[in-house]
C-alpha cells in the first residue's frame, strides 16, 4: 500500500510526525517522550491501557527479577529503573502526579529449606553482578513486616526495587498527551486515535522494505507519518505489510493476577513489596497507596485467555504462606492478560535492516517486553526518541527486532 500522495478526497485522513501503534505502557511512554522531544504524535489503539498494562503489578525490580542466563538484560533493566523517578517527576511537573510511584523496598522471601537454598544461590548471582541484596533474619524481616508468617525460611532485603501503579501511569500519560497537543491546537482525535491498525503504508507499495510512511486503519482511514513505531505487543506480528523477511517471534504467556482490599484493621498488610518462592513457585504481594494489594502472577502457555481457577487458587494459597492474613482480605478483581514473550525473553527494540544494511526509514519496533514492560517503558521511550533523532546506541544492538530474521542478517562475505 502506498501513501506518497495523500488522497485529497480522504479529508478524514490524519497527518502526523510520529504514529505510535499500541497504547500500552510502552507505546504511551514512547509517545510521551517523542512529544516532549517536539514531535507531533498520534497514538493509535482501540482501547489504550487495557492490555497487559491493565494487569501488570508494576514492580520496578531489576534486582529481584534477575534470572540465570539472562544477565544480558541487566544493563537495560538497571538503566530503566534509574530513569523511573525522573519520568515520574516530569509527569508530576506537568500536572499529572497520579502514578502510584513508591520508593518501597522489596523483600525476597523463601518458604522452606529448598526455597532458602534457591534464594541464597540467586543472591550469589545477584551480588556477583554488583547488586545490593542484604540477608535478614526472619526476626528482622518480621520487625519490618509484623504480619509476615513466622514460618519462613529466608528473607533478603532489596532496597532499590520499587513500584508504580501501571493503570495510573497509563491514564496520566494519556491525559498529558492530549492536553499538551491541545495546547498546540491539535484535537484529541488527532492525538489518540481509537482504532486498530491493519497495515503499514510503504513509499513503494511493491517493496515492503521501502520507507514506511504511515498506517492504514480498520475504519478505512490512513495516518500519514514520518515515523511509525510498532508498540502493540502481541499484535505486532499480525500487522499487514510488515517488511518482507521480518520474523517477530511473539507468543502469548498468559498471567493471572488478583487485586484485594485490605480491611481497615489489617492496614498496612505490608509496606514492602513481597516476592516469595513458596515450595519452588513464585508469588508476589504488592501493596498499593489506596489500601489494596496486588497478588500475582501465574505464567501459562495454554492459549487460554480467561482467568484460570487453578492459578487463582495457587496464588492465594502461596500468598497465605507468606502472609496468613491474606485469607481475611476482600477479593475484588481477578484479571488475566497475555505477556508478549520472545524466544530469549528480551525485547524486540530498534530499527529493521533494509537491503543496504541501514535501517528501514520510518520504522521503529518496540515490542516483546514480556514480563518487563512496565520496568522497561522509560528506557524503551529513551531509545526510541534517540532513534527518532538519528542516534543509534550500539549498546542495545543485541535487542534488534530483526535478530530472529535469518533473511535480514548481514551476509557473510565468502
Amino acid at each position: 500500500m502506498s501513501c506518497t500522495a495523500p488522497d485529497p478526497l480522504a479529508a478524514h485522513d490524519l497527518s502526523t510526525d510520529v504514529a505510535v501503534i499500541g497504547g500500552g505502557i510502552i507505546g504511551l511512554g514512547i509517545a510521551l517522550e517523542a512529544q516532549r522531544a517536539g514531535h507531533r504524535v498520534t497514538l493509535i489503539d482501540p482501547a489504550p491501557g487495557t492490555g497487559a498494562t491493565f494487569a501488570a503489578a508494576g514492580m520496578l525490580a531489576p534486582v529481584s527479577e534477575l534470572h540465570y542466563q539472562e544477565e544480558n538484560l541487566l544493563p537495560l533493566t538497571l538503566a530503566s529503573a534509574a530513569l523511573w523517578p525522573g519520568f515520574i517527576r516530569a509527569l508530576a511537573d506537568d500536572g499529572y502526579p497520579e502514578t502510584g510511584f513508591r520508593f518501597t523496598p522489596t523483600l525476597a522471601l523463601g518458604a522452606d529449606a529448598a526455597d532458602r537454598t534457591a534464594l541464597a544461590d540467586l543472591r550469589e548471582a545477584q551480588t556477583s553482578q554488583g547488586l545490593d541484596v542484604a540477608q535478614l533474619t526472619i526476626r528482622e524481616a518480621r520487625k519490618r513486616e509484623p504480619l509476615l508468617s513466622p514460618n519462613l525460611g529466608a528473607a533478603h532485603l532489596i532496597a532499590h526495587d520499587h513500584q508504580v501503579d501501571p493503570r495510573a501511569v497509563a491514564a496520566s500519560i494519556e491525559a498529558r498527551l492530549i492536553a499538551a497537543a491541545g495546547a498546540e491546537g491539535r484535537g484529541e482525535d488527532q492525538t489518540v486515535v481509537r482504532a486498530r491498525v491493519t497495515a503499514l503504508l510503504h513509499e513503494d507499495p511493491a517493496d515492503t522494505r521501502s520507507r514506511i510512511c504511515g498506517v492504514l486503519l480498520d475504519d478505512g482511514r490512513s495516518v500519514h507519518a514520518r515515523e511509525v513505531v510498532i508498540a502493540n505487543g502481541l499484535g505486532a506480528a499480525g500487522l499487514g505489510a510488515l517488511p518482507e523477511g521480518l520474523v517477530l517471534p511473539l507468543r502469548p504467556v498468559h498471567g493471572d493476577i488478583l487485586r484485594l482490599r485490605v480491611p481497615e484493621h489489617l492496614r498496612p498488610l505490608c509496606t514492602a513489596t513481597l516476592r516469595g518462592v513458596v515450595r519452588g513457585l513464585p508469588v508476589y504481594v504488592v501493596p498499593r497507596n489506596d489500601g489494596t494489594v496486588v497478588i500475582g502472577a501465574s505464567s501459562r502457555e495454554d492459549c487460554s485467555a480467561g482467568v484460570n481457577a487453578g492459578a487463582v487458587h495457587q496464588l492465594l494459597r502461596d500468598a497465605q504462606v507468606l502472609l496468613p492474613a491474606v485469607a481475611e482480605l476482600e477479593l475484588i478483581e481477578t484479571t488475566a492478560r497475555a505477556r508478549p514473550g520472545t524466544p530469549d525473553n528480551a525485547p524486540l527494540l530498534g530499527r529493521v535492516a533494509a537491503s543496504d544494511g541501514t535501517g528501514i526509514p520510518g520504522l521503529i519496533i518496540a515490542t516483546g517486553f514480556f514480563r518487563h514492560g512496565v520496568l522497561l517503558a522509560p528506557m524503551a521511550a529513551r531509545i526510541t526518541t534517540q532513534l527518532l533523532a538519528g542516534v543509534c546506541d550500539p549498546a542495545w544492538d543485541r535487542f534488534r527486532p530483526d535478530r530472529f530474521s535469518p533473511a535480514l542478517q548481514p551476509q557473510e562475505i565468502p
Binding site: Y68, A125, L248, L250, P343, N345
Partner: protein, 267 residues
C-alpha cells in the same frame, strides 16, 4: 556418539529406534531459546510436553515461535503427557487432545494423587492404562517404584513403564534402587526411570541398574546453567548404559591388587 548408539544399541519403543536414551521434559524452562539450547545439548530424540500447559497451535497458524516449532525444527519426537490430571477421566480426555493435536498415538500417562506429593494414583493409573490401550494408544505409564504395579501395567498393555526415582521435582535421586532393579528384571517392555533425578550420577545409576532410558526435566531446566547440565546428563546416560553392559566387578570386603604380586612383569 549418538549415531553409533543408534546403530549398535538403539532404544526401541513401539518399533521406533531412538539413538538417545535420554528423554527430556520441558517444564520449568526459563526461556524458549534456553530450552532449545538445552534440548540440543542433551542429544535427546524424544521430549515430553504437558498438553494441559502448552496448547498446540491450530493447524496452519502462523503465530510466533512456540515449543512445538522448536521440537520440529530440531527433529525431536514429541511425547504428549497428561501432567496435571488427577482422574482417569481427565487423563483420557487430555490424551485424546494430544493425539489429535500432535498426530501421535504415544502418550506419557500421568495420573497424580495430590499436589503435595505429585505421586501417581495407582488405582486411577490402572484404569486409565486399560482404557487408553483399548483406544489404541501406546501408553508410557508413569508409575510408583512398585514392582507389582509395574508388572501389572505391562500386562495391561503399556508400551513402556516409567517408575519414579523420587517424587517429581525433588531431585532426591533414586530412593529405592532395589525396587528399580526388580522392576527391570521382570519387565519385557522398556523401563524408563522417570522423576526425581537431581544430578548426572543419578542418571548414570539408573542406567547401571538396567533401565532402558532416563526421563528428566527440572534437573536441567531449573539448573543454573541448563546447557552444561544437559551435556552432563547426555554423557551420564551413555556412561551408565555402557557400564551396565560391561559387566562390573563384584563388590569385595578385602582388597585385591590389580596386578598379582607374584610373577609381576617388570615394565
Amino acid at each position: 556418539m549418538t549415531q553409533t548408539m543408534l546403530e549398535t544399541d538403539p532404544l526401541v519403543i513401539d518399533g521406533i529406534p531412538l539413538g538417545s536414551r535420554l528423554i527430556m521434559g520441558t517444564g520449568g524452562a526459563p526461556s524458549l531459546d534456553g530450552l532449545g539450547a538445552a534440548l540440543l545439548a542433551s542429544g535427546t530424540e524424544l521430549t515430553t510436553v504437558a498438553m494441559r500447559r502448552y496448547s498446540a497451535p491450530a493447524a496452519g497458524s502462523t503465530g510466533g515461535t512456540n515449543l512445538f516449532d522448536l521440537l520440529l525444527e530440531n527433529n525431536i519426537r514429541v511425547l504428549p503427557n497428561t501432567a496435571g490430571c488427577f482422574t482417569a477421566r481427565e487423563a483420557l480426555m487430555t490424551a485424546e487432545l494430544g493425539r489429535e493435536a500432535l498426530e501421535t498415538d504415544w502418550v506419557k500417562l500421568e495420573v497424580i494423587a495430590d499436589e503435595h506429593t505429585l505421586l501417581p494414583d495407582a488405582v486411577e493409573l490402572v484404569e486409565a492404562t486399560e482404557a487408553l490401550v483399548a483406544r489404541g494408544f501406546k501408553v508410557f505409564a508413569y508409575t510408583n517404584d512398585d514392582p507389582v504395579l509395574a508388572l501389572r501395567l505391562e500386562q495391561l498393555g503399556a508400551a513402556a513403564v516409567m517408575p519414579l526415582g523420587a517424587p517429581i521435582g525433588t531431585g532426591l535421586g533414586i530412593l529405592n534402587p532395589h525396587n528399580i532393579e526388580l522392576i527391570v528384571s521382570r519387565a519385557s517392555v522398556p523401563v524408563i526411570l522417570d522423576a526425581g533425578i537431581g544430578t548426572a550420577s543419578d542418571a548414570a545409576l539408573a542406567m547401571e541398574l538396567g533401565c532402558d532410558a532416563v526421563l528428566l526435566a527440572s534437573a536441567v531446566t531449573r539448573a543454573q546453567d541448563p546447557v552444561a547440565m544437559a551435556q552432563a546428563f547426555r554423557h551420564a546416560v551413555i556412561g551408565g548404559r555402557l557400564a551396565a553392559q560391561a559387566g562390573r566387578i563384584p563388590r569385595r570386603t578385602h582388597a585385591l591388587a590389580s596386578s598379582a604380586m607374584e610373577g609381576r612383569p617388570d615394565l
